[in-house]
Amino acid sequence: MLTPKPRGTLSQTLFELMRSRPDELGTTRGLRAEHADDAQIALWALYELSYRGFEDVAESLEWHPDLVALRGELEVDLENALRERFRAAVGEAPAWSPEGFFDFCAEHDGPSLAAFVHRDADAEQVLDLLRLRSIYHLKEADPVAWLVPRLDDTTKAALMELQYDEYGTGNPHLLHAGLFARGLEACGLSPAYGAYIDDAPAEILEQNNAMTLFGLNRRLRGAALGHLAAFEATSSLPSRRIAQGLRRVGLPDAIAAYYDEHVEADAVHEQLAVRTICGSLLAAEPTLAADVFLGAFSCLDLEDRVAHRLLGEWAA
């Protein structure tokens, strides 16, 4: 993958310096993003240095102090925005219980892309959605993998029980990200990692960046696992609707199969994520309960924002 297209003066300067003039990266200090697109693509690219990197950027820049400093500034802005949205919509986090957590997710009301795909979307709209979902699904489960060495034994083992399934129980042909890549290919789309990053609106980038923010910062482990649990708890039923929608518009079975797999897998994963993973984390560290709900709310709210954006564009 090459560096994405810049979207403003910050990302323009940053990507040029990363590619060609890393000695001058200090000049990024004090630069501010022009708007959300500029900030989110810059942060996404900085995070990407710790995933697969870019062919046109030296691997040695991953921990360059000026890039780490810029990443930190962009992360503060994102975390503040997520916390402010949580305060405005939820206020105080509810008390933790597995049933209370499931209710918190079920009671969250927002527009549903799954319902639209199920009944109304045409094939082009579905393909648009698959391109945008590829930004995450081609690194599915990776943002949570950063957490593993940061947890105590019980929570670590519980998380790995779920992650082992995400990663195909050791079989690369069953890896969830690989199932999605084969589905994309069957639809005539590129299965290449990051292929559609330039198509992604700020809402998709923010949704992806929030997962990495939570996963890469140990202090946000509660939010990371709350996000995971809400993601899993809102996946089974929507995945079935999406699979039916994909078949309705005549897309290949390989992409519907990815969603079929998530109907069944996520019916397991939601129980594990809520009961054994978040449950054990909060038994050991009860003060993280508020962050678990911050992560859960952020997952649901960021998906609402993506849905508003796409449904709005499609209705126009």
Binding site: P98, E99, F102, A106, T154, E161, Y164, D165, T169, S236, L237, R240, V263, E264, A265, D266, A267, V268, E270, Q271, L272, R275
Partner: protein, 70 residues
Amino acid sequence: MTASTSSDHPDVIICPGGPLLLRGEHVVQDEQGLAHRTTRPVSAVCRCGKTSTSPWCDGTHKVIPARNRP
């Protein structure tokens, strides 16, 4: 007590209002008498009777009235 029989890491977990989780490899017989082998590290067996992927849970228990959940 071995790790696999430890009370804080059970082989079977009954989820209130939801499925029954099975750790490890098992063969589950459905209502029609058909045998289904588990394929994942943990499997969720439907307890509400409304699943479309019997014998496995598909999350449908969440959309039926709470009083009808297992």
